[in-house]
């Protein structure tokens, strides 16, 4: 993998400091990560071979600061508008995974002219009573592979580790990272997105792992039904991290869908 460049971008006179990973040349695509955090992974690396990938870290987690200036999802959407302006992005493609998928969909619904292509990887944001999404704040770390992966014994299981309980800084960062996500999805990750999705103008690709046991694949059709130009790809052999568990297949889907140089 190539190492991305890492920058801290200041917004609004320093109210926000956002850690951003960037790599590649070509049309810009922004990637919004999920509750697991921001990592430069083979999926992002592959996309960066034909376009510029920009991956900001969610406010209040890792190296990004300024969560205290955001109260709700609308504030978060406006914050991303500001970030995109400061980064000099005009029209842009957007990929979001899980919580990041919910945010990406909110941005695309609120700024329909700005987002030209939208990729949602197992997004949060809707609620179906028959398929309740577990409370991610109480997940047992030992049970994460079984919950998040189609193959809990596969090579990805090693990545799903919990913070070292003897390391105070790791515990602190893990707690703050989770708190920064919960602020926008507590107590139920349904903040009205369903009422807004009709506004999305972007061509939309929704990707779901067939064995996703965190957010049931039944949510896939719910998203495609609510977004005007959307198609759903169900990926067999993948859980909640389809872009990593079936990387080659999902990279192929997304690479063919997004603009490239």
């Amino acid at each position: 993998m190539t190492a991305p460049s890492e920058d801290v971008v200041e917004l609004l006179d320093g109210k926000f400091k956002t850690r951003v990973l960037t790599a590649g040349e070509g049309p810009p695509v922004v990637f919004l990560h999920g509750a697991g955090g921001l990592f430069w992974d083979p999926f992002l690396d592959a996309l960066a071979s034909r376009r510029r990938v920009i991956a900001p870290q969610h406010p209040g987690s890792g190296g990004s600061q300024g969560l205290e200036h955001l109260e709700d999802v609308l504030d978060l959407v406006l914050y991303y508008g500001e970030l995109f302006d400061v980064l000099g992005l005009g029209a842009v493609s957007l990929i979001g995974h899980s919580f990041g998928g919910m945010v990406a969909a909110e941005i695309a619904a609120t700024n329909p002219e700005r987002i030209d292509k939208l990729v949602l990887l197992a997004p949060l944001g809707l609620w179906i009573d028959d398929h309740p999404i577990p409370d991610i704040s109480t997940l047992d770390p030992a049970g994460l592979p079984a919950l998040l992966l189609a193959d809990p014994g596969g090579p990805l299981a090693g990545l799903l580790t919990s913070p070292d309980v003897t390391d105070p800084e790791a515990l602190f960062q893990a707690a703050m990272g989770m708190a920064s996500i919960l602020q926008f999805i507590w107590p139920i990750p349904d903040k009205g997105l369903n009422r807004r999705l009709y506004r999305v103008k972007a061509d939309t690709l929704v990707v779901w792992g067939a064995q996703d046991r965190l957010v049931d694949p039944a949510y896939g059709p719910a998203f495609t039904a609510a977004i005007p130009n959307a198609r759903l790809e169900i990926v067999d052999g993948a859980g909640h991290l389809p872009q990593l568990e079936q990387a080659a297949h999902v990279i192929g889907l997304v690479d063919g869908f997004l603009p490239s140089r």
């Binding site: 105070p168 602190f172 989770m178 919960l182 507590w186």
Partner: protein
């Protein structure tokens, strides 16, 4: 020193294998399966009888609190219990509602109204407790976003204090409470307002709020006085740093206490019930115990750096036999002499002038609870009540309408209760 009988109101008949069969005592213990309203009807009568007995026995105060979906404390509305006590406490004990979990009420004006009602109904015997509340109650049972816990608490506090001290009607434009006409009827009887008691668990912000606003700080844990040292130490360090005096009546702490005729008899009487409490009532898995974001960034950093989570885990995982419980101070137990000696040592060490005595513990039955209360009132209170007398401090935070000192007839009163 003030002695306050504090009642948690636990479910006293959880199944013997409760902690193996169920995930948690709090938030998720299935109500239809475990909570029999017929038994609860009996418990509430016992709970009130026990609190009323404490009034007649000469306790200085009676304490109630608020929890939700909790098998060790199913007092969803402490104000209802306080209202019941208002009319049946002829010995004029203070009534300490510790308290109303402010972040849960929107508009929080409701708390201003109900506390003012209680203050009038008790002729000024109310202490108004403002706890931030536990993460289980606030974030899980009532669905408040974790990072909004402290902002909602702070705003509710500001609204209530303004409603109590500023003539209405006025406008309150908060983030969570937006009110065009704040004008509650009635305002409290006590002036400028009922004494405010804060309950905390080691958050930096709560220490500072207590000191800055001149409120009492109360550490309500179940791990006893040895464990309380770090948290109470933090409070007193904060007081010193902010230039505040060290009046011991600024502070309170909760202690589980078991009094019997002799030390040996105490183990015989209470071991079963104390074991029930520590094994079943504190059966809470760590992920449920604290939702990320419940503490502020600053308090999370402080808690982790000072080892608070590790301390709690260490305490929670100790084998809870009688000797461990006594040696580590989880309980103070024994004859009245033994209990009084250890309480004096504990309260002097922590510098607290308000002993929040937990005298009904776990599965403890009604008769045994009355015995514990009676022996405490007759044998312990007379030995500990003068603890801070030599330093000459005034208790500025005791409700104005409450009995200001235990009457000399307290012991005589107990014969009425015992009849």
């Amino acid at each position: 020193m003030k002695s306050i009988f504090f009642h948690l109101m636990p479910y006293r008949d959880l199944p013997p294998d409760f902690e193996e069969r169920y995930e948690s005592v709090w938030v998720t213990p299935p109500n239809a399966e475990l909570c029999d309203p017929v038994r609860v009807a009996q418990y509430y009568k016992w709970n009130l009888d026990e609190l009323e007995l404490a009034d007649r026995l000469g306790f200085d105060g009676l304490g109630v609190n608020e929890h939700h979906q909790n098998a060790y404390g199913f007092m969803a509305s402490p104000n209802l219990m306080a209202a019941a006590l208002a009319r049946r406490t002829p010995n004029n004990s203070a009534i300490l509602v510790l308290g109303n979990t402010l972040a849960l009420y929107n508009p929080a004006l409701r708390v201003a109204e109900e506390f003012a009602m209680l203050d009038c109904m008790t002729d000024g015997r109310l202490a108004a407790g403002f706890p931030v509340g536990t993460s289980m109650d606030v974030n899980r049972c009532y669905g408040i976003t974790p990072t909004e816990t402290r902002p909602r608490f702070n705003e509710a506090h500001d609204l209530i204090m303004k409603a109590w001290t500023q003539p209405g009607p006025f406008v309150f434009n908060g983030r969570f409470n937006k009110l065009r006409y704040v004008n509650p009827w009635p305002q409290p009887l006590q002036k400028p307002h009922p004494p405010v008691w804060l309950a905390g668990g080691g958050s930096v912000e709560t220490w500072e709020m207590a000191v800055t606003n001149d409120y009492t700080y109360n550490f309500l844990s179940f791990f006893g006085y040895q464990f309380a040292r770090k948290v109470m130490g933090g409070f007193w360090e904060t007081a010193a740093r902010l230039g505040c005096d060290d009046n011991p009546y600024r502070a309170g702490f909760a202690q589980q206490i078991c009094v019997s005729e002799t030390d040996a008899q105490a183990e015989h009487d209470y071991l079963e019930h104390v074991t029930y409490f520590f094994n079943k009532c504190l059966h809470i898995p760590p992920p449920i115990f604290e939702t990320p974001g419940y503490r502020t960034r600053r308090s999370t950093e402080f808690a982790i750096k000072t080892g608070q989570p590790g301390d709690i885990v260490k305490m929670a995982t100790l084998e809870k036999d009688w000797k461990t419980l006594v040696d580590h101070g989880f309980i103070i137990a024994g004859s009245p002499e033994t209990v009084a000696d250890r309480l004096i040592e504990a309260c002097r060490g922590l510098r607290v002038g308000n002993l929040i005595a937990l005298l009904q513990i776990g599965s403890m039955g009604h008769e045994l609870t009355k015995k514990n209360l009676t022996l405490f009132a007759e044998g312990v209170i007379p030995r500990i009540k003068h603890l801070w007398a030599d330093e000459g401090w005034q208790h500025h935070w005791w409700p104005q309408g409450a009995r200001q000192d235990a009457p000399s007839s307290a012991v005589a009163g107990s014969s009425v209760a015992g009849s």
